[in-house]
């Protein structure tokens, strides 16, 4: 049986990287990003990358570390506002940028993985996004044609996997990961835990193993939070007397 499980991120990526390639990287902001695989890609020094990812990390973390190392030639994203270096590289012309509306980006990736070369959407009609694209009337409404998107490699972060490559994501860390798993010619996944085959709920598997070529348990998960936002504990009053923990 083919063994998908590798022991390090570097081993999981071995032989798959080449200069000028297109990589899809899961995550929304810093949530659900394949941080171990990104770090391993930095170590290889592979360059001139086109990276498809909703965002581009922050200075010093996530995809930001590939920017620092000048490995990225072009980003395909919906929002890149959290990154000073990004701005600087873009304004100096060292970095190309293609903006997609977030939902169009998500659907383009799903389409790419599903064998759909193009689809129509209302999103962006009458805006810069529709320029140079076919706009067509269906039943009296205008829609713009968008193309499916595939990559040479997708790097994905899941929560749990089994050795077959069946994946489960956790909470909003799911985001772009499931579609990207389907749209890479190769798909490498890092997870927080590898469980025994049969332990995952068969009705609850988000990404079936067919999409996963290689799998690694991440060595470290920093899981940095971009914006810690909290609320105050309720005023204490009588409850304090009753011993409610604050």
């Amino acid at each position: 049986m083919v063994d998908k499980v590798k022991s390090t991120a570097a081993e999981a990526l071995a032989g798959l990287l080449f200069d000028g390639m297109t990589i899809m990287a899961g995550g929304f902001g810093l949530c659900g990003i394949p941080e171990n695989l990104i770090a391993a890609i930095r170590e290889t020094g592979v360059k001139d990358l086109t990276v498809v990812s909703n965002n581009c990390g922050v200075d010093g973390f996530g995809l930001g570390i590939l920017l620092e190392n000048r490995q990225i030639k072009k980003m395909v994203s919906s929002y890149v506002g959290e990154n000073k270096l990004f701005e600087q590289l873009y304004l100096s012309g060292e970095l190309e940028l293609e903006f997609n509306p977030q939902g169009t980006l998500a659907e383009r990736i799903r389409a790419g993985g599903a064998g759909i070369p193009a689809f129509f959407t209302k999103t962006g009609v009458g805006t810069l996004v529709a320029e140079g694209k076919e706009v067509r009337d269906f039943d009296g409404e205008l829609y713009v044609m968008e193309r499916g998107l595939v990559a040479d490699l997708s790097i994905v972060k899941a929560w749990k996997a089994d050795a077959e490559g069946n994946l489960v994501y956790r909470k909003t860390a799911r985001n772009f990961n499931p579609m990207m798993a389907t749209a890479g010619k190769a798909c490498v996944v890092e997870v927080e835990a590898i469980v025994a085959i049969g332990e995952l709920d068969k009705d609850g598997i988000h990404t079936p193993g067919i999409y996963v070529d290689r799998l690694v348990k991440g060595a470290v998960f920093e899981k940095r939070i971009e914006r810690v936002t909290t609320r105050a504990r309720e005023a204490v009053g009588e409850n304090a007397a009753a011993g409610v923990e604050i």
Partner: protein
């Protein structure tokens, strides 16, 4: 006395109906959650992939895997569900969200909205805004009536690049409320903030509007 930010949020909250599924943008729209009327139960969608957003967590209870579309830590409710961003925007694009409340830079009398880029400045991206205005059934914009320079923001035509064309249903500013109806009918001023005069609104508005107070 024009409306405060909280007044504007409270006014926007009056657009909510019981059972609505709603997407709230960043800024004043986020405050709307504080003014949900009694007897009205709404479910908040976060476009990164969640229905049923709860409040911010208590300190020390933040979960890095649980954030909203503004990348803030949040909590879940018993009724919450999670899904991929593709499924989330299928929900949005497919017209399943009843109401979106979001901020704006300019609104035109044709219902156009600009809120994502200023030429010459670094563009951060549109995120999910274009999908929301194109897909959600009813779009309410909450914004300051004028630029800091005093220039009007409710215009005959937007000068900034559009987020969507003919997408705004209602506009709430600190001066009052305008029915835009996606540009299908003339703009109508339907409410004035307390102490605001019609003359003041006229002076600060470029778009033509009818008065229906």
């Amino acid at each position: 006395m024009a409306w405060t930010r909280d007044d504007m949020a409270a006014r926007a909250a009056r657009e909510l109906r019981d059972g609505f599924y709603v997407n709230l943008g960043i800024g004043i729209p986020t405050l709307v959650a504080n003014y949900i009327p009694d007897g009205v139960s709404v479910t908040l969608q976060s476009e990164n992939g969640m229905l049923g957003m709860g409040p911010f967590p208590y300190e020390g209870e933040e979960d890095a895997d649980l954030i909203n579309a503004g990348k803030q830590t949040i909590t879940e409710l018993d009724s919450s569900s999670y899904f991929s961003s593709a499924d989330s925007f299928a929900m949005i694009r497919g017209g399943h969200i009843a109401l979106s409340i979001l901020g704006g830079m300019q609104v035109s009398e044709k219902g156009d909205l600009a809120n994502w880029m200023v030429p010459g400045k670094m563009v951060k991206g549109m995120g999910g805004a274009m999908d929301l205005v194109a897909g959600v059934k009813r779009v309410v914009v909450v914004m300051d009536h004028c630029e800091k320079s005093g220039a009007p923001k409710l215009l005959k035509a937007c000068s900034l690049p559009l987020t969507g064309a003919g997408v705004v249903d209602l506009l709430i500013t600190e001066l009052g409320v305008f029915e835009i109806n996606r540009g299908k009918t003339p703009v109508r001023l339907i409410e004035l903030a307390p102490g605001v005069t019609l003359d003041e609104v006229k002076a600060k508005t470029e778009a033509a509007f009818e008065v229906a107070l």
